[in-house]
Symmetry: C2
Subunit: 246 residues, 2 copies
Amino acid sequence: MTLDWLGDHESEQVRERRFDLWRHDRRVPGVLWTPSDAAGPRPLVLLGHGASGSKRQDYVLSMARRFVRHHGFAAAAVDGPVHGDRRDPASPAGQRVFLDFAQVWSSDAAMTDAMVADYVSVLDELQGLEDVGAGPVGWWGLSMGTILGLPFVAAEPRVQACVLGLMGMTGPTQERIRSDASAVRCPVLFLVQWDDELFSRETAFELFGALGSADKRLHAVPGSHGAVTEEEWEASEGFLARYLQK
Amino acid sequence: MTLDWLGDHESEQVRERRFDLWRHDRRVPGVLWTPSDAAGPRPLVLLGHGASGSKRQDYVLSMARRFVRHHGFAAAAVDGPVHGDRRDPASPAGQRVFLDFAQVWSSDAAMTDAMVADYVSVLDELQGLEDVGAGPVGWWGLSMGTILGLPFVAAEPRVQACVLGLMGMTGPTQERIRSDASAVRCPVLFLVQWDDELFSRETAFELFGALGSADKRLHAVPGSHGAVTEEEWEASEGFLARYLQK
């Protein structure tokens, strides 16, 4: 594996480093955020973005900076399949990315395992950095960030707490989702949008019920798939801060 | 109406006053908690206890003292029907109170309106006190505290935020519950125990969905009816503190 650093800049005490991790011939484009003055090990939150977004979309950047600025954590995000810097720049963007992801989710059984391996490798590499180190690890990802995050959390014992949600027991890989859910053991905050037009609350409740963790909680608020409230961003932040600082 | 003060003592900066409010010939036994040094108006939280409990049961006392000590609020609780000091001291207690309440809930359509009138009168009287005053009002009550609190919150425009839960769209007065739920307009935090053996989560979700408030959120955690977590006591406290301090 090789980690190539592609950019390094700072904004208001947050250092942001763009990287490409090469796993054999597979390129994993990511971003790492740390406190500007970071030295020594600290908790690390891995963030999964939503379908049609990317590793640096507004809410991922915002959540990452909260963890860094408010808690001194490190945070990192990676582009999903057919997203961001993994996408052919000549291909259509916007809603088309959403469709492309739906297709790869339906048709490519190896996609999920490849993404889990990407995240594991990123975690290995980042924990080798002096200013990240082998501290507690959290996962934060909604919607596609749960589609890809749930199997990662299920497979990775280093994850000590996770925020999941905006996703249900549905889709092309339902049996896989069920077995991954039952394998999760860490504390979970699971977010539901009551009027979610992509994943009905009934399927979301079913997924929450299937999570193997004894310590889990579900927060539901009215609104559509994308209408997560500021209160729930704050709950996400507070939850991971509480469990990773222990 | 007459307010009789029956006791007044202090413990760790919390003043606790026992009162009987007389509404014609109906006695309404209650407790008021205020900061020992209280002067002037402040938010007031009314607390409803659970079936077979009373106005001063452990978690009511604990919640009341949190509001007083952490936020400088006033708090008050009143015995429910066939409970506490409304109960013939010679009659059997414990689980028998639960059965007696179930019976009065099923058979006495006037019970709910009488309890709502009790709470309205208590609110009128307490807001007349110099160290409580006409500040913002909150409601906190789970289970029987929602059975009786929902109609009170629906009827009382002074209530600006409420915590409800451990109850569902079920029971002998379902049409009344539905119309009261749709009349609620204030912000709500609604608590659900995933494995509630008295009110299934499906009926709890239905009640949450029926609440007329645009600003509402549901928190669910695994566990039986009585197994509310410390995290949700804290969420209750934080929610009411945030909305009543505005």
